[in-house]
């Protein structure tokens, strides 16, 4: 066989807790979304006549997945007429009482484990090697145990871990492109990071991300990869296309409400911002920034606006309206305080510019900004107007 066509997905996280702080049945709806995304994956396999389904880890949440989900999975997977190959991830590791061990999986499903790390499917002319997790956290893997590619077959290396990222404190199976390249496989089916990536230094390494996004740090369109590998003149040509599977899309937006005089004005601006978003599809968090002269109650805004939305969260991060420019020239204590804080904030912002993703620096900047606001409020009114929730 000179061609093989398969679907590559990862990080489905069935039965995951939903950490969006949603209300009512939101979490249940989102868990159902994850299931629907999985069903779309299966539909894709059928519609595209894929010969194989690869799941590169974090298929489900070992700590929360129930028996009913496993029964459902059995039913769904057994209906699929093609082989399904799974490696355990750090959320569904191959521990002693893992569902992988204590559940009867359909006959078309193969779980690659340290005891049984590879699989040859003769009818597809395919050799697959899998390296997943056997505990919830693992350090750099020993790649010397990986069996070499099989001659004249398509060779796929399934891996769940961190590729080319310098996470010294929280690395999950860190490897580099060079490490994997030495293995000499034709396709590297990666999993772990929820954002899709196909631009690694390592050729033919693909990370599909989560088929259904699971948080505000997973914005954009989420889906899976449909892969076709073909042999041409003794070399393997790989074609990869992305297929959308997500039900929802996360949006984290910032709205500067400086200048708004009334709550209604703020509401109008929020409504204007929401133009174009789909209340059923889009999960939106709006951070209100800027300086206002009046009090903004998050709950009032949320209650007013978010009725028709599956999820619309408004975080009030506005500060009291102070004329900082003027204060900086003021000889009073407020002026001196403003100058001092401004100096610290400028330093923090400078640091943040050099490392914009650094959460510690982001927090530092926010803390300084907040301290400035609190200090000026205390200096001007002798009290702090505290948001309702806190």
């Amino acid at each position: 066989m000179d061609t093989v066509k398969f679907v590559h997905c990862a990080d489905i996280h069935l039965d995951a807790p939903i950490r969006d702080n949603g209300i009512g049945t939101y979490s249940d709806i989102r868990r159902k979304d994850i299931r629907n995304a999985f069903l779309r994956i299966l539909d894709t396999v059928k519609q595209e006549n894929a010969q194989l389904l690869l799941i590169s880890g974090d298929f489900f949440e070992q700590k929360t997945t129930g028996k009913s989900t496993m029964e459902w999975l059995y039913m769904m997977l057994s209906q699929l007429q093609v082989p399904v190959v799974i490696i355990p991830g750090n959320h569904d590791p191959y521990i002693l009482n893992s569902w992988y061990r204590c559940w009867e999986w359909p006959s078309n499903v193969t779980v690659l484990t340290p005891e049984n790390p590879s699989l040859i499917i003769e009818e597809l002319n395919l050799h697959i090697y899998g390296m997943g997790f056997s505990t919830y956290k693992e350090d750099a893997p020993d790649l010397s145990v990986v069996s070499p590619p099989v001659k004249d077959k398509f060779n796929i290396f399934m891996f769940h871990g961190t590729l080319d990222m310098n996470f010294t404190n929280q690395a999950y199976k860190p490897v580099t492109s060079a490490d994997l390249e030495r293995l000499g496989y034709d396709y590297y089916a990666l999993g772990h990071f929820h954002r899709s990536c196909s631009e690694y230094p390592l050729k033919n390494a693909y990370n599909p991300g989560s088929p259904e996004p699971l948080g505000f740090d997973e914005q954009g369109v989420h889906g899976i990869f449909l892969v076709t590998m073909r042999k041409e003149y003794n070399r393997v040509v790989t074609e990869v296309s992305k297929i959308k599977t997500a039900n929802r899309q996360y949006h984290d937006t910032v709205l500067d409400v400086t200048g708004c005089k009334t709550l209604d004005e703020v509401k109008i601006r929020i409504l204007a911002l929401l133009e174009g978003f789909d209340p059923e599809r889009d999960i939106i968090r709006i951070k209100l920034k800027g300086r206002t002269g009046f009090s903004l109650e998050e709950e009032v805004l949320s209650t007013f606006i978010s009725q028709d939305w599956l999820y619309l969260r408004i975080d009030n991060e506005t500060r009291k309206a102070f004329d900082l420019e003027e204060l900086l020239l003021d000889n009073s204590l407020a002026g001196a305080f403003a100058r001092e804080m401004k100096k610290l904030i400028d330093q923090a912002r400078e640091e943040l510019e050099g490392d914009p993703e650094n959460k510690d620096l982001q927090q530092k900047e926010e803390k300084l900004d907040l301290a400035l606001s609190f200090g000026l409020e205390a200096l001007s009114t002798g009290r702090i107007e505290w948001p309702g929730e806190f």
Binding site: E104, K261, D330, N331, L333, A336, E340, I384
Partner: protein, 808 residues
Amino acid sequence: MKITLLDIKGFGRFNQKKIAPKYGFNIVYESNESGKSTLQAFIRAMLFGLKGGRKSKDGKLPPLKQYKPWGNDQYAGIMEYTLDNGKSYRVGRNFEKGTVNIYDQGANNLTSEFPHERDRGPKFAYEHLGIDAEVFDRSAFIGQLQTIIDAEGKKGLIERLSNLGTTGNEDMSLDSTINALESTLLEKVGTKNSTTRPLDRLNNRISALIQEKEELEAQREKYMDTISQLHMDKEALAKFESDLAFFKAQRKSTEKRELLALQRESEGLLNKLNELDEGIKQCHQELINLKEYENYNQEELIEISGMLEEVKQIQDSLLTKQTELREVKEKCEEITDTLDPDELFEKKTTDVTEAIKEYNESKQEGASSYSSAGTGAGRQKPKRDWRPFLISAGLISAILLTVQFFQSQDPLSLGIAIVAAVFSITIILRKKNKDLVGSGTMTEADRLKDILLKSGFTDMINYIHYRESQIKGREKKENYSHQIKNLEEEIEQLIKRKDAILRSWDKFASHHYLNNDSHKEKLIESIKQGVEAIKRANEKKQRLLLAKDTIYEKFQIVLKEASLMAGESFEAVDDLSRYIMGFDNQNGTDSPQVSMSQIDEEMKALEERINETKLRIASLEARAENAPDQSRIYSVIEELDSLIEKKSKLELRGEALALASQTIKSVATSMQKDYIPKLNSQMSKMMEKLSDKKYTKVMTNDELVINVVSPETEELISVNSLSGGTIDQIYLSMRLAAVTLLEKGRESIPLFLDEPFSQYDENRITKAFELLKDISKERQIFFFTCRQREYDLALEVFGQDLNRISLQ
């Protein structure tokens, strides 16, 4: 900035009121409620606009509504002013419409050149003065002071002084600022020492959730262990059941095989039963056929048969005895013929016997001189003579031993040879001597011999033979005679017995209606055979019946065994055959030859294990049904995440509050070191003037305590120990100094003093006006008072420079 025109179109109580202030000192001397405060508000409103909105919580109207003119459509005004750089501007504001227009001295509308605020319009005042409305209020307006010289008033004034020195805002103290931050930190967040604040409550809830999460996770671990065990047990059960199925199949196969064997055996037994039935039938028929013999008594037949046999034996005996009698008679006759007549024999023997008697008597007489041996020779049987043999043997031995000596030179051989030679010679010598003794009896023998010859005997030996044969012959004849007698008696007895038997037979034959003419032996033999045949037939029948019973019993056992094996009751072989026919053909008989007991043992063990496993599975399944509440796990995790996020935010706010507080303290300390000396310097200059050089130095220390240098002792005196009037002076000097410092490097702002000297005595008021006169050279001052005396003193001090503004 110097205000040159206030044209009030309509504002509060004012209607079409034009005021043209002078650059220097302007006094508004009017009675109370004449509009002094409204004028101040108008100036503030022209510069910074009026705040609208709703009523405040205490029911106070917002400024925009508060100053709406009474009964006038116009709610507007115009103000003209000149900056320190000489540039003049004209501001027209319509409060009703919220419009503002700013023109320069060339009547150019500059409105759009200033940054705009949504509610207050262009920020021209901020641009020109460098301060916002709030700072303008704090700096330019020196209101009616609490100069009541009592403890409370003094305290309040000191606080204001302290505030002014530390925060630059007399209404805001450093303490209250820090207190606001710290109390917010404590009440709205929480500290290390707090226990009931939001952060504490959050931490408590988080701890409770973490604990619950751990418990739920532990429950789930247990649950998953149960699932795991269940899975293993199910796998084990499947294997056991598979093994059991195998053994069942094997048992079926073996059962079939064994049932087939039992079937064959039972069929064999049935065949045997049939054969036996046939045999029994034959026996029965045979017995019918032998019915004629059934009345014969076996003992009788034996007896009759025995008698017939005895007859036969008697006849044989008779024949033998008669032959024997005849032969004995012949022998007796023969022996009689050989014997001499008794008289002859008597005679012959008596003569010889007498001769012998005489011979013996003569011999006994001669025996007294001869050895007894010689005498006895005639009566005793002569002994055999071994001497020739001994002599020969001794001589031969001597010769052989001598030869042996010459060959072996053994002296013993020679010795023995000599002994043998001597022994032989001795025997020879003794024989010669004996023969010589015997020759002395020849006379008696001759007389005997003579008698013998006379009797017809040749010698003694002849006589002896004769005598012995005659005696024996007579003895034989006697014996034969006796035999003949006995034989004759026996024959007679036999004939008697034969006759008795024949009588018995006749009786028997008559009883059984037998043809007496028939051959008795044959007849009786025939009867015997018939009786024997009946006996045999009966015996055979009994044997067959017994065998039938045994085989039937065995047949029943086989069927019972088959029934037990199959678990079904088989009444007949056909039932068993039908049952075997029902077996699946696949249950072939080619499975390994394992006994049923072995299989049953294995199956029993497996069934026990299956039952145990099933019990365990049932128990595990029951436990598996009690899965931890999944929704609770979700809600705990999700609430925990939410609270951790809240905690993080709250901590951030807490840290921000702490940082603000810390920074303010730090900045205040730093500012005090920088700002306060300047303030002190300015204040000192003003106090020197106000106190007529009594207090030339005002000093605020690091603890924000205001001191003055005592004119008498040069010592520092705390402001607390001064009189209320002096403290009021210090406050005025401090406010004026603060304005000077505030606007340093910027536009000078007009001062608005509203009844500041209400508690001053004349001297102090004069001194204060003198100070204000100095200040008014560089700064426009608006002085509001309702006191005639103050106006008079002002007039005294300012003279023509005084500009009185009338509100009438």
